[in-house]
Amino acid sequence: GSSESPVTPEQIEELEAILLGADVGVQTTLEIVGKIEDETRGNRFVTSHQVKRLIREELHRILDNSGSAEESGNGERPQVVFVVGVNGVGKTTTIGKLAHLYKSEGKSVSFSASDTFRAAAIEQICIWGERTGCQVIRQEQGSDPAAVLFDAIAASRAQNVDVLIVDTAGRIHTKHNLMQELEKMRRVAAREIEAAPHEIFLVLDATTGQNGLIQAREFLRSSGITGLIVTKLDGTAKGGIIVAITKELSIPIRYIGVGETVEDLLPFDPTVFVETIL
């Protein structure tokens, strides 16, 4: 710590344990420590309680506008929602949960089974369709994801469905061809329905470390992201990387996943999130 700051090395260590341990990351942790040192400069000493309060305030300052944006419904039908992200983060399961939520709001929902690559991906989303009472538009494994999307938009439009949720294959952001495939799907949607896709949700696994920031940057840059969903927060991981993501990219955090059943989706609440970090 700097020489005039009353924050002791022990307090800094405690602070770092909380923030680093939550995956907030080195850079953001250093910035928060720096801010706390600035705010307490000139004090004779600062209590652990004050340090915690200052961390809480700083985290809230970063996160408090992140959950507030309303989903951009604009009366077009269907609203098209893409769910994207790297492999295994919980996209398909989250789609089941989103459908359940939308239906509880009185909306009709259909799915586009646009993960045509992975073994049993289509079977998996079809089971979520059965569980939630949503039609699934599908083709065979190996078909073109954009072609399935095209069919799904046509079918959803014909049946006046309110929301079409598009399941996509997991993809590592460093794979240029896969990111191009996603961008092609975005163009297909935009061509069919003006302002589509109305939402592109990036799903992040709460256990992810610093790579989560790179994922957010790359997906944002490549095809755009309108919101984040952080899954597996029912585990012991804190998902602190979203602090760095929000700070740098200001993408709204919409929902969190807290389990494997259809009801385990909650709107993001910065207060609850900050308290679990502290």
Binding site: E16, A17, L20, G21, A22, D23, G25, V26, V86, N87, G88, V89, G90, F117, R118, A119, A120, E123, Q124, C126, I127, W128, Q141, G170, I172, H173, T174, K175, D205, A206, T207, T208, G209, Q210, N211, G212, I214, K232, D234, G235, T236, A237, K238, I241, E260
Partner: protein
Amino acid sequence: SLSERLQKTLRNLKGEGRVSERHVQESMREIRMALLEADVNFKVVKEFVAGLKTKALGEEVLKSLTPGQQIVKLVRDELVELLGKEPSELEFKKVPPTAVVLVGLQGSGKTTSTGKLARWLSLQGRRPLMVSTDVYRPAALDQLRIIGEALQLPVFESESRDPVQLAREAFTHSRNMGFDVLLVDTAGRLHIDDALMTELEQIRHELSAEEVLLVADAMTGQDAVNSAAEFNRRIHLSGVILTKLDGDARGGAALSIREVTGTPIKFIGVGEKYEALEVFHPDRLAGRILG
């Protein structure tokens, strides 16, 4: 890269002649930052850097004309040592079948890795049988069946939907039909889910499993120590498969997992296709973690 950062740090201090304890302290700070940015757990970093500092204050570095390079070499060697020096193989029972159980958190790549291992073993001339005990995830049994069809390798199926019974039936079948290895896919689970961790203990016990492989995602952050330690405590791991290394995650979780469980990393996953499985090389991962 770390070596560039260290060279820069030590160049800035060059005016003081030979490298001093202060130079080493500054270098340790750079190394700590690099490891934290690579997702190594902060407690593991603290211990690692403390041990490193002691060695860096030794004769080799202090007398060296190129202390920066000396320190980089020291860090790399220490990392490789920690990660397990040499490749570590699967252990097979003298009397087949050998049961290999794949365990881990949700979505880490267990089912895909089961297929990859089956292909790997088959190419080595062994006869693997796969079985899924994941009766929870939608289409999990379909997933392994489809993988078996794609690989043209057998998957055991039965009417049972009890994971422990499924494991038992598969083991009996593999023994009767002369398979060399039984690969057991399990459902993803949280290490804090006591009921499911107990189920895993029962599956392991049922198979007197030779190999219990933790399948862990290379992009895992600080939490890697928590889940790995608990899986190891409950069911004693024999190896780790680190997946999704075809991404750009630095993979520091590997160091955390190794340090906290002492378990060797045996394989890495480097893609979604079934051929994307490699034997683990500690020196390659050390280079990647250091960046």
